[in-house]
C-alpha cells in the first residue's frame, strides 16, 4: 500500500431524510403544542413562541425591552432569585425578540423538567416589570448600543434595513439614543398583556421527551387565559429609500463594511427554493462564486457572504463583506459583475452539481438531532408552512435548471435594484 494507490473513493448518492411532520396538539385553552422526540441524551428544549416581535410595536425598543424584562422580576420572585434558581437547576434560558416573533427558549436536563416548566410559566405570564430593574436594563442597553455603533458591520446593516424597508416601519427604522429614555413600566405591561397571551402561544418541545410532558404542559399552561385581547393596528407601511447608494463615514476605520442587496420574495413564494439555490451558488457556501472571486483569487477579504431571508411581510437578499479600504471599490465592482454574470450566462451543469450535492448535505444537517429539527420546524411554522417546504426544496435542488437560475436572477436580484451601503 502506498502513495500511488491513493485513488479517490467513489462518491455514494445520498438522500435528504426529512422526518415526519410534528403533529399539532392543543391544550384546553387552545395553545398549540408540537413534540419532536429524538436524540440520545436526557435533555429537552422548550420553545415558547408569540407573535410579539418588533412588527407589533409602535415605539422603538418596546418589543425587545418587554421581552428582555420578562425575567427581571415576577409575582413570586425578584430578578436575582429567578436567575439563581434557573442556574441552580442548570436551566439555560434564552429570551429572544425578532422582527416578527418573540419568545423564550429553555434547555434543561429531563430530571428538572417540572421546575423548568414552572419557571417558564412564571416568566412568561407573571412578570411585574419593576421600575428599578427597567432603569438598569436601559442603562445597560444604552451602553451596549453605543458600543455596537462603533462597529462598521452594524452601521451598514442598520442603514441597509432602513433603505429597503423605510424609516418608519419596524423592519427598517433605526434606534436612536433618545429611544432609550422612552420606556416605562406601564408601556411594557400593556405590551405584555396584548402580545403574550397564553391561548395564542405555540410550544415546541424537542429532545428525548418524557412520557408525561403533555400532562405537565396542560397542568402549567392549559388553564391560563389572558385578560384582554384587543390589539391595535400599528399602521406601519413598508417604503423604500430613493437613494440606492448610501455612504456612512466612520472615524478611524481600517475596513469598509458593505451590505449590497434588495427587498425580495419570502418563504411562502413558490420561487423561493430556487432563489435559495441561486443564492448558495452566488455566495452561500465556501465554494461560491463570491468567495472564490473576492477571497480565494484576489485576497480582498476574510469573507463574503450572500443570504436570502424571510420576514412575515417581506423578504430580502443581502451580500455582506468587510474589505480593506484600499480595495473597497474594487470589491464592490466585483460583486456587481457577479450579479450581472448571473443574469447573462446560465451556470454550467458542473457548477450546478456541486451546489446540488452541497445543499442536499445541508438538508441532512438541518435535521440532524432534535434541536436542529426544532429549528427547522420553527422556521417554517412561523410562516404557516409545513415540512412540505423542505420536500419542495429537495426537489428543486435535484431538478432546477441553469436556465431557471438565469430567469430567477433577472426577476429577483437585478443589479439595478440593489442598494449599496458602505460604512467606514
Amino acid at each position: 500500500m502506498g502513495i500511488l494507490l491513493r485513488v479517490q473513493p467513489q462518491v455514494e448518492p445520498f438522500n435528504a431524510s426529512i422526518p415526519a411532520e410534528p403533529q399539532l396538539m392543543r391544550l384546553s385553552n387552545g395553545a398549540g403544542v408540537y413534540l419532536i422526540d429524538a436524540g440520545t441524551e436526557e435533555v429537552m428544549r422548550t420553545d415558547f413562541i408569540f407573535r410579539a416581535g418588533m412588527i407589533t410595536e409602535y415605539l422603538p425598543l418596546l418589543a425587545t425591552t418587554t421581552n428582555m424584562m420578562l425575567a427581571e422580576g415576577t409575582l413570586n420572585h425578584n430578578a436575582r432569585e429567578l436567575s439563581s434558581t434557573l442556574d441552580y437547576y442548570g436551566i439555560f434560558m434564552n429570551l429572544y425578540s425578532e422582527k416578527d416573533i418573540a419568545g423564550l427558549t429553555l434547555y434543561f436536563l429531563n430530571k428538572h423538567a417540572v421546575k423548568a416548566l414552572e419557571l417558564a410559566g412564571e416568566i412568561l405570564f407573571k412578570p411585574v416589570f419593576p421600575g428599578n430593574e427597567l432603569d438598569l436594563m436601559m442603562k445597560k442597553r444604552l451602553n451596549w448600543f453605543r458600543i455596537s455603533r462603533g462597529k462598521t458591520q452594524n452601521l451598514a446593516m442598520d442603514n441597509f434595513f432602513e433603505a429597503i424597508f423605510g424609516k418608519r416601519h419596524p423592519y427598517g427604522r433605526k434606534v436612536t439614543e433618545a429611544d432609550f429614555s422612552n420606556m416605562n413600566c406601564q408601556l411594557l405591561k400593556d405590551f405584555h398583556s396584548m402580545h403574550y397571551s397564553p391561548e395564542d402561544m405555540t410550544i415546541i418541545v424537542s429532545g428525548k421527551i418524557n412520557a408525561n410532558i403533555t400532562g405537565l404542559l396542560e397542568d402549567f399552561y392549559g388553564r391560563l387565559s389572558s385578560e384582554y385581547t384587543y390589539r391595535e393596528d400599528t399602521g406601519n407601511v413598508l417604503s423604500e429609500s430613493p437613494d440606492k447608494k448610501i455612504r456612512i463615514a466612520k472615524r478611524g476605520s481600517v475596513q469598509s463594511s458593505y451590505r449590497i442587496g434588495c427587498r425580495t420574495i419570502n418563504k411562502r413564494h413558490p420561487d423561493y427554493p430556487g432563489l435559495k439555490f441561486l443564492n448558495t451558488l452566488l455566495g452561500g457556501y465556501f465554494g461560491s462564486r463570491l468567495m472564490k472571486n473576492l477571497r480565494e483569487e484576489k485576497g480582498y477579504t476574510y469573507g463574503v457572504h450572500s443570504s436570502v431571508s424571510s420576514f412575515d411581510l417581506s423578504g430580502f437578499m443581502v451580500i455582506s463583506t468587510d474589505v480593506g479600504r484600499q480595495n473597497a471599490e474594487k470589491a464592490a465592482g466585483e460583486i456587481f459583475s457577479e450579479l450581472k454574470r448571473l443574469q447573462d450566462t446560465p451556470p454550467a451543469e458542473e457548477e450546478m452539481e456541486v451546489v446540488r450535492k452541497y445543499m442536499m448535505g445541508e438538508i441532512l444537517r438541518m435535521f440532524d438531532g432534535p434541536f436542529s429539527i426544532a429549528d427547522s420546524f420553527r422556521s417554517v411554522l412561523d410562516f404557516g408552512l409545513s415540512f412540505d417546504y423542505y420536500h419542495r426544496m429537495a426537489e428543486t435542488i435535484k431538478s432546477v435548471t441553469p436556465g431557471e437560475i438565469t430567469r430567477l436572477a433577472n426577476t429577483y436580484c437585478k443589479p439595478e435594484d440593489m442598494y449599496e451601503i458602505k460604512a467606514g
Binding site: 473513493p9 453605543r146 458600543i147 465556501f286 441532512l364
Partner: protein, 414 residues
Amino acid sequence: MISFSRFTLDNGMRVIVHNDNSTPLVAMNLLYDTGSKDEDPSKTGMAHLFEHLMFCGSANIPEYDLPLQLAGGENNAFTNNDITDYYLTIPAGNIETAFWLESDRMLQPAFTQEKLDVQKNVVIEEFKQRYLNQPYGDSMHLLRALAYKVHPYRWPTIGMDISHVAGVTMEDALNFFRTFYSPRRAVLALAGNISPDKAFYLAEKWFGPVNGEIQLARNLPQEPSQNEARDTCVERDVPADALYKAWHVGRRGDSDYYTIDLLTDLLAGGDSGRLYNRLVRELRMFSEINAYITADIEPGLIIMTGKIISGTDLKEAESALNEVIDNLKDKEPAEVEMEKVKNKFESATVLSNTNIMNKALNLSVNELLGDPGLINTEVERYRAVTGRMASEAARKYLDSGNCTTLYYKSSGKK
C-alpha cells in the same frame, strides 16, 4: 455516557471512535498538537496562516473543498494557542472521501507562492476585521503582552503584528509543516454513524502510509512567576471605559484546574454570578462583566473583563471588583452556591454531547490531555470541589501581586 474505542497506528497517530447510529452523518475531527505557542517570536501568526494553507490543495488533490462538497460534506477549522483543529461532517456513506482528503493533506500540502500570497492577504483582512476594526479589538494583544514576559502565550493566535504575517515565506511555511504536522502529533476522532471496525480499517488504509518526522520534544521558555502587580493604561476612540485583569494559574489538567474553573463560575457563571449581582445589579457600575479560565495546556490565566457604565470612575469600579474577590477569599461559599455552579456545569456538558461535532472535538481534546474518558468523568471531578477549596484557590491565585491590569479608557471624543 459516551462510549468510545481507541486505537494507535504504527506511525503514532491516535484514533478514537464513538458510534451513534441515531444520525445519518459522521463527524470527523482531526486535531494537530500544534498552535501559536510553537511559533518563532519573529514570525507570529504562522500556525493560523498555515491552517489556511491546508485548504490550498495537497499532494494528489488540487482543491480540498470541491470533492468534499460533491460528497455532501461541510467543514471548517480553527487554531488556538495550543492546537490546530480540522473538522467536518459528511453523510455516512461518503466517510471514506473524508479519510482520503485529510490523509492527503497530512501527507503533503501543495500550495504555491501565489496561493500563499493570497492567503496572507486574507489573513491580514481577518486581522483587521477582528482586531483592528472593532472597538476594544486590541485588548487581548495588550493584556497578553503584559501578563507574559517570555512564554509564547504572550501573543494571540492571529499574530503579534500584521507585518509578521506579511513576512512569511514559502520556506517558513514548509518548515512549519515538516516540524509540526506529523501523525505523531495528530489525534483523529470520529463520532456518528460509523462502526469502530470500519473506522480503524479506513484509518489504517489512508493514514497508515503517512510518515512524519520524529517528534521533537517541545522546549518552550517557561514563564517566571509574577510577584508584583503590573498595569498599563491606554486611551482609544471607544464609547465606554473597560477593565481587563489577568492572573496566572496552572495547566489544564492540574489537580486544582477544576477548582479554578468553578471559581470563575462562582464569580461570573451567568446572571446569578457574584460579579453580576454586585457590580451590575446592585452598584450599577458595569454594563457587562465576565470571568473565565483560558484552559490552556501550558500554564494559563484567569481573565476578567468588564465594560463600565458611563458616569462611573474606572478606579472605583476596580475597587468594587476587588471587594467581590476578597469576599470570596475570606468566606467559603455555601453548599447551595457550590451545588448551583456544579449543576450548571453538568447541564452544559450533557447539552454539548447532543451534537456529534462537539462529541468528536471533546474526545480529541481529552485524548490530547491524556484520557478521552474525561468526557464521561469530568462532571464527577467538578462534583468533588468544595467551598473551602474554592476559597483557598481564590487566596492562592487571585493575589494582587499575581495580577495584570489593563485600563482601557475612552478618549471621550464624540
